[in-house]
């Protein structure tokens, strides 16, 4: 993996904002650039991101994780609740699908530290990729087998590694910025 920076969309965003239009950096292309840059040069990439962008990456990537891995389990859970009228089934079903991204994002934020934890959301990318690929293989008739949580475990380890790797490159949040937020 090279460690050169992705550059232009940031400048484009600022140019649009200056021109009075909606800031490009809040749009989907900007988010795709932000996520993709993490696969190419994560340390340089996070260093050049604006501090107030990507605040919803955790939520967005968490939803993508659910979409890429948990549509069937969620549907099963709904069907189970309808069949059994069981509150345990409801809690178990919801817990099973949302627990992993929540635990992993908390792990990433913890590893980044309190002043850099605002970049924890984007660290979910490896979890989304590993989980989605594992599910895709299963759809294609070649499940990876082993423990059902294996993709989550691998994804979680990669998220932790990514968080540790980019930690020093993430600009620390100033105390007054945090209070204002």
């Amino acid at each position: 993996m090279s460690d050169t920076a992705a550059q232009s969309p940031a400048d484009a965003g600022r140019a649009d904002a200056t021109a009075g239009g909606p800031p490009t950096r809040q749009t989907v292309p900007r988010a795709l650039w932000r996520w993709g840059g993490m696969f190419i040069a994560p340390r340089r990439h996070v260093a050049q991101l604006d501090m107030d962008e990507g605040q919803r990456d955790g939520l967005t990537l968490g939803l993508l994780y659910l979409l890429g891995t948990s549509v069937l389990p969620m549907t099963e859970s709904v069907a189970t609740v309808l069949a059994t009228h069981s509150i345990v089934a409801l809690l178990s079903g919801v817990g099973r699908v949302v627990l992993t991204p929540i635990v992993v994002i908390v792990l990433a934020e913890t590893l980044l530290g309190s002043k850099r934890g605002y970049r924890g959301g984007i660290c979910l990318l490896p979890l989304v990729v590993v989980g989605t690929l594992a599910r895709m293989l299963a759809q294609l008739g070649s499940p990876i087998g082993g423990h059902p949580l294996l993709p989550d475990l691998v994804g979680g380890v990669l998220v932790a590694a990514l968080a540790l790797w980019i930690r020093s490159a993430v600009p620390p949040e100033a105390a007054d910025t945090k209070e204002a937020a």
Partner: protein, 183 residues
Amino acid sequence: MNRAAPVLGAAVLVGALAVGAVDGKRAALEWDTMGPAAPGTSLETFSVARLGGGAFTHDQLLGKVSVVTFWATWCGPCQSELADLDELDDDYEGRDDVQFLAVNWEGTGYTPAQRRRITAAHTQRKGLGLPIAVDDGDMARALRVSAVPHTMVVDAQGMVRHVYPGRVRASTIADDIADLLDE
């Protein structure tokens, strides 16, 4: 670099959307068969290999109150539930109107021999005495079990009377058995 970043980001987005769409379509097509066999339904016919040899079939449910639980060696809640059901099974020892069956459903990616070996080793290590079966997924599909632990209480006519997705207390099962025996 400038072009690669958005492409990679888009690949993540499109990949998740595509996988979600395929699963969503499958969920819509298979909705009628999703979720466990609900209370009040008769079980589909099935046959599952007993750990000690032979098979347990649908017909063997008839004439007895049956407690069927699905478990896996990697499932934490299953272990404490199995220990409880093992004790409960001891309470009904010698009775021919109540039976227990603990069906190991380890998941995908194992050969039948591996399943038997894993289940046998685990059963021996835990000292379980209740009847154990090893499912390759067929029985789980027939009974529409999607996750473990999953326990069902079946009456003497082979009709599902109680379904417990997730951990269930032994006292709850004991009450269910008593109610069905009183009928």
